[in-house]
């Protein structure tokens, strides 16, 4: 809680959070363009529908709807019997139709909650809704020119909206991390903030402590694309607001961005009145009536959202150590790992998990198949036992300090020795084997 005394007044921060998650479907939300656009040449994953050409019509991606339902279930939402897409009308160069197909009055998932640790006590954050919508294109500016890439236009987005339940920045950060874990556990998105698969917006205002009503303004803080900056961005903004209020000023309804280098928020858009999006039911799409049997089936997938449950399942299934599994989960690589295991067989689970966690694989650049091929190729060139023993002996002779440290109980220093062995064998040694040999030689 941010508190300052002035004229004997204490302030309370009130924050509500909106998170957009790009779900990992094969095709876009309302057309069949490939959704795998990361790194692709601009405007190559486009068609009349996602370019908003005259006459084009949307058709719903069922896979995306399933994933939105799984998100809803994982957050404890009710899945609506009948949900309706609406048009959110506004002009922006990255919005080709002049409206975004979204949900407003009849969202797919309603209610729900997430428990967070909080600063001093456990706390429940209420989820207002999780609804399905589509992403916009992406603008980039070079000099006086602006370029638009529509590859992202029409990608499925799930928007998760909380009630204004947060009272300080650490709660928001905890919520974001917890939500990211859940999204990764149910496997509907990589939920990578830096890459933009997960975007967080905080609606921030402050009120005198003791006041029950919500403040009559709020500032929307956007473009925070890393957990590192969430707390700092919010604290900076709260401090700015309190300063204005304490000097007798009024805070206007606005959208602000955060500059992580300067540690300050900056004005992006002044909203004198709330935007009038003129929502009305999207006449081009039929109402969604989720099949109840399907919803029941999806509940099983949503149960994987409990990280503790998921961890136990993976440990048992692949006979792996808990630490290794939780590293995989933390890196968001479970799905990648499971795909790789499917290709090369359960026997290789441990080797794969170790390899993935050590190398920090970038799943946008490398597919599970590539990884398996890479490991197999290395396997054929693997350094033999003798070669590793020779290299290990050499390493021990040449690294006196590491050896002394190791013998003094700093067992971590063996990593340095393993590194030496890898170097000497041009990376052909199995690091696990090198460790075993080094340990033997050092006894």
């Amino acid at each position: 809680m941010v508190q300052r005394k002035a004229k004997n007044m204490k302030w309370e921060t009130v924050i509500g959070v909106e998170v957009h998650v790009e779900t990992n479907t094969k095709t876009k939300m309302f057309c069949r363009c490939s959704a795998d656009y990361f790194g692709a040449k601009p405007n190559t994953h486009v068609c009349p529908v996602c370019l908003g050409l005259p006459g084009a019509l949307p058709t719903t991606n069922e896979e995306a709807i399933k994933k939105c339902i799984i998100v809803g279930l994982a957050l404890g939402c009710d899945i609506s019997e009948r949900s309706i897409f609406e048009r959110k009308n506004y002009f922006y160069p990255d919005l080709p139709k002049g409206y975004q197909i979204s949900q407003y009055r009849w969202p797919l998932c309603v209610g729900g909650s997430i428990d967070i640790e909080g600063k001093n006590r456990k706390k429940t954050i209420r989820i207002n809704r999780a609804h399905q919508e589509e992403d916009t294109g992406k603008l980039s500016h070079r000099g006086n020119e602006t370029f638009i890439d529509f590859n992202r236009s029409g990608l499925p987005l799930v928007e998760i909206v909380t009630e204004a339940d947060f009272r300080d920045s650490s709660e928001v950060r905890d919520y974001g991390k917890k939500l990211q874990q859940i999204i990764r556990a149910i496997g509907v998105s990589k939920a990578d903030m830096e890459k933009g698969d997960m975007r967080l917006e905080a609606n921030i205002s402050v009120r005198p402590e003791g006041q029950k009503e919500l403040p009559n303004y709020r500032v929307e803080l956007k473009n925070i694309n890393s957990f590192k900056f969430i707390a700092d961005a919010i604290d900076t903004e709260v401090a700015r607001q309190i300063e204005i209020l304490e000097s007798g000023g009024k805070i206007s309804q606005q959208t602000r961005g955060y500059n992580e280098d300067k540690h300050e928020t900056f004005l992006q858009r002044e909203k004198e009145e709330a935007n009038d999006y003129r929502y009305f039911p999207e006449p081009d799409l039929l109402p969604l009536v989720p099949d109840r049997a399907l919803v029941e089936k999806l509940k099983l997938k949503a149960n994987a959202s409990d990280p503790a449950k998921k961890l136990t399942v993976l440990v048992a299934k692949y006979n792996l150590g808990e630490k290794l599994v939780s590293t995989l989960m933390g890196q968001g690589m479970v799905e990648f790992f499971e795909e790789a295991v499917q290709i090369s067989g359960d026997g290789s689970a441990k080797a794969l998990a170790t390899y993935i966690t050590n190398r920090k694989i970038d799943p946008t650049k490398q597919k599970p198949q590539d990884l398996v091929d890479e490991i197999n190729a290395k396997g054929q060139n693997m350094a033999g036992q003798n070669q590793i023993v020779e290299a290990s002996k050499e390493a021990i002779e040449q690294s006196e300090k590491m050896v002394t440290d190791y013998k003094a109980g700093k067992t971590n220093s063996i990593q340095g020795l393993i590194g030496q062995v890898m170097k000497k064998t041009q990376g052909k040694a199995d690091p696990q084997k090198a460790r075993e040999i080094l340990e033997k030689l050092l006894k």
Binding site: P48, L51, G52, L53, P54, G55, A56, L57, P58, T59, T60, R87, N89, F91, P93, P96, K97, G98, Y99, I148, D276, R278, Y279, F280, P283, D284, L285, L286
Partner: protein, 448 residues
């Protein structure tokens, strides 16, 4: 005149099979006629001289790959669609080629053709008269034998009314019968693509080509779900006459012609019953709220960024409807306008459901008057809106409607409107066919 351009689509197909002429000869004949008459009639905005199969004219808001598309607006000047509308692909796979794109009221907004940014098409029966709208060019092209048949779109009467005013057959299929994919949307919950033809059997044939699911229009109803059996014979059939369609506003000469047509149906064995559609009086207001609301959103994509020109190029009627619709959807007005209109729309739909408990089809006039003088209503939008008073209610209800030539008033054509139950387009066509066979009106052609 025995020109091959006077043949119906059905006869053209037969004669081509019998090798009475070749597709090349057919296209040459049509192109020659277009060269001669189009300067006077302004039916076509673009021609496709490489047409080499049975030539169709396409309303210029339906996408045809590599042919310019204007939607009758300056804002789309320079736009060439990179893809075909579903109906265009379906026609192509049935041996049809596009001979040209036809004139229309800008973005299909109008009842006279005068809102075209490329000067209006003219009525071939009297070039000082309007051809009706918004599918003006398509109706003119069929009426003047400038194509074997045409496609139009109908939102509140834009196929049926110009067909009536030009003395040809026009079918607005049930909403959800034909995919809208590739047709610039005016009001998405109302728009439907349909044929304008020389005969009823031609309309039936074209519908069979263009209808059905394509996976690109969510609102197309699967054919397996269409159950109502078509009415085969007029003998013993019940024809409903809505009392509200024969009140003030209907031109007395038009009324005489339409009543004579109803008597003809009686002669053919139909039983005529009076029905009531009590909410008809609200239909035009409801239509102008829902349609304008959807228009304001559908035309938002014209921002001049990816294609076309900037928004100042919209014509005055288009601007009027964008503003009306934007207003009706605004916070504070949405419930009073859009929502209320949507509720009354349901009442109008229920009117028809009630009426169809008493009859198999509903018949009446298409338009309250025959074609009027060019310029007469351009300063009075409300008078123009009221010319669609008989076609709007059934459009709001999504019902099929057919205009069949049924005589002349003041030497100008009059159309008989036949309305059917939802998805029972076959019954409408069947009644139209039987009426056509018992009369010769459809054979009348303007002297050009």
């Amino acid at each position: 005149m025995n020109d091959i351009t006077s043949l119906s689509l059905t006869h053209t197909i037969i004669d081509l099979k019998d090798k009475k002429f070749s597709p090349q000869e057919l296209n040459t004949a049509y192109l020659a006629r277009i060269q001669k008459l189009n300067p006077k009639l302004n039916a076509y905005l673009h021609l496709n001289e490489s047409s080499d199969k049975i030539p169709v004219a396409i309303k210029d808001l339906i996408s045809v790959k590599d042919l310019p598309m204007t939607c009758g607006s300056r804002i789309l000047e320079g736009y060439v669609p990179p893809y075909n509308a579903t109906v265009v692909n379906k026609l192509a796979s049935n041996g049809i080629s596009i001979i040209g794109k036809t004139n229309l009221d800008e973005f299909a907004m109008g009842s006279s053709g005068e809102n075209s940014a490329y000067s209006p098409a003219k009525n071939p029966w009297d070039t000082t008269k309007v051809p009706g709208g918004s599918s003006s060019g398509s109706a003119v092209a069929v009426s003047a034998d400038l194509c074997a048949f045409a496609l139009g779109t109908d939102t509140g009467g834009s196929i049926r009314q110009p067909a009536s005013l030009c003395g040809v057959v026009g079918l607005k299929p049930s909403y959800g019968r034909v995919s809208r994919y590739g047709a610039q949307a005016m009001a998405s919950s109302l728009d439907q693509i349909g044929p304008i033809t020389k005969t009823v059997e031609d309309a039936k044939l074209v519908l069979s080509w263009i209808e059905g699911e394509d996976g690109q229009d969510n609102n197309v109803v699967s054919k397996s779900k269409i159950q109502s059996p078509p009415l085969k014979n007029l003998k013993g059939a019940k024809v409903g006459i809505p009392i509200e369609y024969f009140r003030e506003g209907l031109d007395s000469e038009v009324e005489k012609v339409v009543k004579a047509a109803i008597n003809k149906l009686k002669d053919l064995g139909a039983e005529v019953v009076e029905v009531s559609l009590p909410n008809t009086k609200y239909a035009v207001s409801v239509y102008y709220l829902i349609m304008a609301s959807e228009v304001s959103s559908n035309l938002a994509r014209y921002d001049g960024i990816r294609f076309g020109q900037d928004r100042s190029k919209f014509g005055p009627e288009t601007k009027r409807r964008i503003m009306l619709g934007t207003f009706a959807l605004s916070t504070g007005y949405f419930d009073d306008y859009f929502i209320k209109a949507a509720k009354v729309r349901t009442l109008i739909r229920n009117d028809f459901k009630e009426a169809f408990k008493k009859c198999d089809v509903i018949v009446g006039p298409v338009s309250p008057t025959v074609a009027w003088n060019i310029g007469k209503k351009t300063q009075d939008p409300l008078a123009m809106y009221l010319s669609d008073v008989y076609t709007i209610p059934s459009a709001l209800a999504g019902l099929p409607g057919l205009s069949v030539p049924c005589g002349f008033a003041s030497n100008l054509p009059v159309g008989l409107q036949i309305l059917g139950q939802y998805m029972n387009d076959e019954t409408v066509l069947s009644v139209g066919q039987q009426y056509q066979e018992a009369t010769e009106w459809y054979k009348e052609r303007p002297k050009t």
